[in-house]
Symmetry: C2
Subunit: 303 residues, 2 copies
Amino acid sequence: MAQDPLPSWQDGALKSAILAFVDQVTDPNSSKYVVPNLRVATFDHDGTLFVEKPLNAQITFVKQKLFDEGDNPVMAPPNASFFDRLENKLANWMQDIESDLENISNAIFKDITPAQFRAAAGAWIRSAVHPRFQQIYQSLTYKPMLELLALLQDQQFIIYIVTGSSTDFIRQWSDETYNIGEQRILGSSLKTSLEEKDGKLKLVLEPIPFYFSNGANKVKSIERNIALQPIFAFGNSRGDIEMLRWAGQATTSFCGLVHHTDAEREYAYSPDPELFTGKSTLDQAQDYGWHVVDMKNDWLTVF
Amino acid sequence: MAQDPLPSWQDGALKSAILAFVDQVTDPNSSKYVVPNLRVATFDHDGTLFVEKPLNAQITFVKQKLFDEGDNPVMAPPNASFFDRLENKLANWMQDIESDLENISNAIFKDITPAQFRAAAGAWIRSAVHPRFQQIYQSLTYKPMLELLALLQDQQFIIYIVTGSSTDFIRQWSDETYNIGEQRILGSSLKTSLEEKDGKLKLVLEPIPFYFSNGANKVKSIERNIALQPIFAFGNSRGDIEMLRWAGQATTSFCGLVHHTDAEREYAYSPDPELFTGKSTLDQAQDYGWHVVDMKNDWLTVF
C-alpha cells in the first residue's frame, strides 16, 4: 500500500498485525486467502467505535427525553436508582429494572413508529452535546476505528455493527458516520404491533423487549442474520466475549479488544469481569489471543 | 430496452404495467423516480417464486426426513392428521399442531447447528424429485419470476425473499437459484442455544419457534430487518396480504399476486379467504389495486 491506511495508529506490533491480517486474507496467493463474500467483520458499537462514558448515548437520549425537554417531563421520574444502576451495569440489572423499563418505554415509545424513533435518534445524535467534550455526540467516534472500517471496506469486507443499543437508535446515522447502512446494524429491539387505522396499516413500537443483543445473543443474532462466521471482530466489554470467541473459532481470524486506558484524552476503565466465572475480559483476551488496543499508547488521535 | 427482458410473459396489460413501473422509478427525469438504495422489492417464496403443491417443499423435506430415510424412521409418526392439517392450511393450524411440532422439531433438529440444517436443506432441494414433475425441486422455480427478478436486479433493486418457510431452509441455495444471498432471506426461525463444548462455543437449534414469518409478521420482519418500505412486492396467498398492503402504501409502488389458474402446466387453486373477514385474497387485490397474474394466460412458460 502506497499510503498508510491507519495514520492514527501508532506504528508497532498491533498496527502491523492488523495490516498483516488484511494482507493475508485478501491476497489470492496466500494460504489464508478468503473470498470477498466471506470477509465478514462484526464490530461492537458503544466503547468500540463510539464514546460510552460518562453514560451510554442511548441511555442519555432516554434520560433527556424523560427529564430535559421543556418544563413538562413526559412522565413521572422513574425509581431514582434506575439510572445509577444502568450506569454501574450491575450484574442483574436487566432483571432489576424490568418494571422501570416498561414505564419508560411506555412514556417514550407509545404509539410511535420505528421510523419516528429513528428520526428522533438521528436528530438527537446530530445536535445533543457531550457534557465533557462539548461536541455533538455524532462526532465522538474513534478516528482510528473509522480508519480501520475504511481499510476493511476498501478490501471488500462486509461489516456489521452488533450492538446492545437499539438497532433503530443507530440506523438513521450509521451510513453517514460509518458507511454502514441500516441493514447492517444488528442491535436490540422492541416488539411492534401492526394496527389498522383509517383503512391503512400502521406499525407502532410496543414497550416490550423483542431482543436484547448482548453476550451469547450477539452470536445468535450474527448466525440468524448473517449465517456466516465473522473473520474479524472488535469489542470492548464483557458483552462482547462470546462474539470475539465465535470469530476466533474461524480458521483464520483477527479479534480485537479496545481497552480504555486514556483518562486524559478519553476515559480510563476496564471491562467488567465475566458474569459467572468472574474472569476479567482482559484475561480472556490473553487466553484466546485477542489483540488488545491500549488506547493511550496505540492511538495517536482519539477523535 | 433493446431486448425483451420478460420473454416468458404474454404481451399485454400486465407485462406493460411491470415494464412501465420499472421505467418510471428508474428514470431520473420521471416524477416517480426512486434512488437505487430505496428500490426495495419483497417477494414471497412458496407459490410465488416456487412450486408449493401438492405440498410445500419444507414440509415435504420434513416428511421425508421423518418417514422415508431408510428402514428406521427417526421417530414414531406424529398424529396422523398432522400433515393433512398442514396440507389444508386449516385456520388455526399453528395452534393445533404445536405439540406435534415440538416432537417433530426435536426429532429433526436436535443438536444440529443452523449450518448443518442449511446443508441438509441444500442437499435435499438439489436431489429430491417432485412427485408429479419428476424433476429436482430446485428446478421448479417459475421462469417468468426469475426473469422479473433479473430485470429488477439489473435496475439495482434490492430484493428480499420474505417467506413463511425457514430462513435457513432457503439460504443455502437462494444465491445460486435467485441471485439473492443468504442475508436477503427473511423467513421463520427456531430459537438457538449457545453451548460450551470442549472449550469451544457451539450454536445449536432448539425445537422452539423463534419467529413465524406470516401475515402481519412479514411486515414486522421487513421493518425490523430492512427499515425501508418496499416499493415492489409479490405474493400469492393470504399470508401475503399485509405485506402487499404495506408496499401498496408507498408513494409509488407495484404489488402483484400470482393466481394459480393452470391445472395443466402447474396447479389451479385460489388463495384461502382472509382469516377474520372471510374476504378472498383476490377481492383484496381488486380493492387495493394489486396486479393479478393469471398464470394460464399471462405466462408463456411456467418452469
